[in-house]
């Protein structure tokens, strides 16, 4: 493994982890609203969040590119007002990974929230706890397992993201190149040895993530 290869591995792992954390507040809020509240347009939001799961990743990438490009509605604002560029930077990678992995977190967390018995929350409220306190002391701890499972799924999805990333962030060595982009690039170059080493790392990372989540679920299941 060369220094450049390690850089790719660290960068990929970091951005994937960062994206799993970045989607947490909005993801949990959406999951909770979907699980506990009814409001007009609920099914529309539900569909929108799940869309990246079924759309071709490249199509999602194109939508993001249009929105966040320097001439795009959001990208133009960020560039002109805040001097912040998204496309072709690490922020682009973060954006692509976040959008692509969001549905996995929301789906898992939603199921987890639905499984929390509403009566427990009501009891807490009768004892004088406010909504926020009920959420942090009752709902969240009881749903934690499903939420962590969703985060690990989201992380694993982010590790392997390709289509949206290459559209939004390009494949700039040392800047935006992730494991999957680098593997593709090396196969294109005919540098198979390089590609195989990165393949090995990908398999190891994915294995650890999934195995870790299994272990986590098993130990938390054994608790009374």
């Amino acid at each position: 493994m060369t220094a450049a290869e390690w850089q790719i591995v660290w960068f990929t792992a970091w951005v994937a982890a960062l994206s799993s954390l970045a989607i947490l507040p909005a993801g949990l809020a959406a999951a909770w609203l979907l699980a506990r509240r009814d409001w007009p347009g609920k099914s529309v939001l539900e569909t929108l969040i799940s869309l990246p799961l079924v759309l071709p990743p490249v199509a999602t990438g194109l939508i993001l590119l249009q929105l966040f490009g320097r001439r795009g509605a959001i990208g133009g604002f960020l560039h002109d007002r805040l001097d912040l560029d998204v496309v072709f930077t690490w922020r682009g990678v973060l954006l692509a990974l976040s959008v692509m992995s969001m549905p996995l977190l929301v789906r898992s967390a939603r199921v987890a929230f639905e499984e929390v018995d509403p009566r427990l929350e009501q009891i807490a409220r009768t004892l004088g706890a406010g909504n926020l306190r009920v959420f942090y002391t009752i709902t969240l701890p009881l749903a934690a397992r499903g939420i962590i499972g969703g985060m690990i799924l989201a992380f694993a999805r982010a590790l392997g993201e390709f289509g949206a990333t290459i559209m939004v962030a390009g494949n700039i060595p040392g800047r935006t190149s992730t494991l999957s982009l680098a593997i593709y690039q090396n196969v294109q170059l005919g540098d198979d040895a390089h590609a195989f080493r990165l393949l090995g790392v990908s398999v190891a990372l994915a294995f650890i993530a999934v195995w870790g989540s299994e272990l986590l679920l098993r130990t938390s299941r054994q608790k009374p």
Partner: protein, 293 residues
């Protein structure tokens, strides 16, 4: 409709026509039965089916793997070729490096049209092209492009090193011909170390063009012919041919081709005057036949 005189001029097409005739009769009966229930789409389909069956038997389909910069020219040339030949031309446009790699992996190409000699050399060394058919057909030149609307103020190549350019879009500079040419040029000008950190490497030269079109890169280096197909970029600076490596587009029949006859015929058409006029119109330099490979 299903049995025109062109198809009967081929031996196997005659057998096919007989079979198809019977098939068509069955289909027509089916169409009659169906018409009482569903007069629309199904009936139409059964009438069109013989047409679809007639096509593949008539002629060869020549698959051409060609550098992305050749897209519009070759499409125009193929359209003109198809009016004089029964053969159909199919294209796979991409970076020459990608195409060479695909041919190495056994992709079903009949003709390879590369944007540099190096990729063709690589395939020739591996015995993957028919050496005798290889010829260098075109040359091209590089330009620096910026967005036509709100583009960066670039007047000379040295401006690429200033902070007016935050990102410079190139085709991948280590593998894709347009990128290799651009990198060589920037090296020669002593600019490479100053711009290397700004380079956004794209899949092929059209990717680099698109990055400038969208405004996401302030400048890019592409072929003159690419700049000509885009309305949203303008040429900031022409790069004299003498300052770049020799840009050459060789073409050859792929050794694995199952229809070398049809492939060679199209290759010859590519070197013809008629094709040359199209290439010339689009800004390519047509190389004289017999120039050294």
């Amino acid at each position: 409709m299903y049995n025109d005189d062109k198809s009967t001029s081929y031996g196997n097409a005659e057998i096919g026509a007989g079979f198809r005739h019977r098939f068509v009769v069955v289909l027509h009966r089916a169409a009659l039965v169906n018409s009482s229930m569903n007069k629309g789409i199904l009936g139409l389909l059964t009438w069109l089916a013989p047409l679809a069956l007639a096509l593949p038997l008539r002629a060869a389909e020549v698959t051409v793997f060609a550098a992305a910069s050749l897209t519009e020219s070759l499409q125009e040339i193929a359209a003109s070729y198809e009016t004089q030949s029964a053969d159909r031309i199919l294209f796979n446009f991409s970076a020459s490096s990608t195409l060479a790699r695909q041919i190495e992996e056994g992709a079903p190409a009949d003709v390879f049209f590369s944007a540099d000699e190096a990729k063709m050399d690589r395939l020739e060394t591996k015995g993957l092209i028919l050496r005798k058919t290889r010829k260098s057909i075109l040359s091209n030149s590089l330009v620096i492009v910026v967005a036509a609307d709100r583009g960066a103020a670039i007047e000379r190549p040295g401006d690429l090193a200033t902070d007016r350019v935050k990102r410079l879009a190139l085709a991948e500079p280590n593998t894709v011909p347009a990128g290799i040419y651009a990198k060589e040029y920037l090296r020669k000008e002593g600019l490479w170390s100053a711009v290397e950190g700004k380079v956004v490497p794209m899949e092929n030269v059209r990717g680099a063009l698109a990055a400038v079109e969208s405004g996401n890169a302030e400048a890019g280096i592409v072929y003159k012919t690419d700049a000509a197909v885009s309305r949203t970029v303008k040429i900031a600076c022409q790069i004299p041919a003498a300052d770049t490596p020799d840009i050459r587009y060789p073409a050859a029949v792929v050794a694995g081709s199952k229809q070398t006859g049809a492939a060679t015929a199209f290759l010859e058409f590519l070197a013809s005057e008629k094709a040359g006029n199209v290439f010339g119109k689009r800004g390519f330099v047509v190389l004289k036949p017999g120039s050294p490979p």
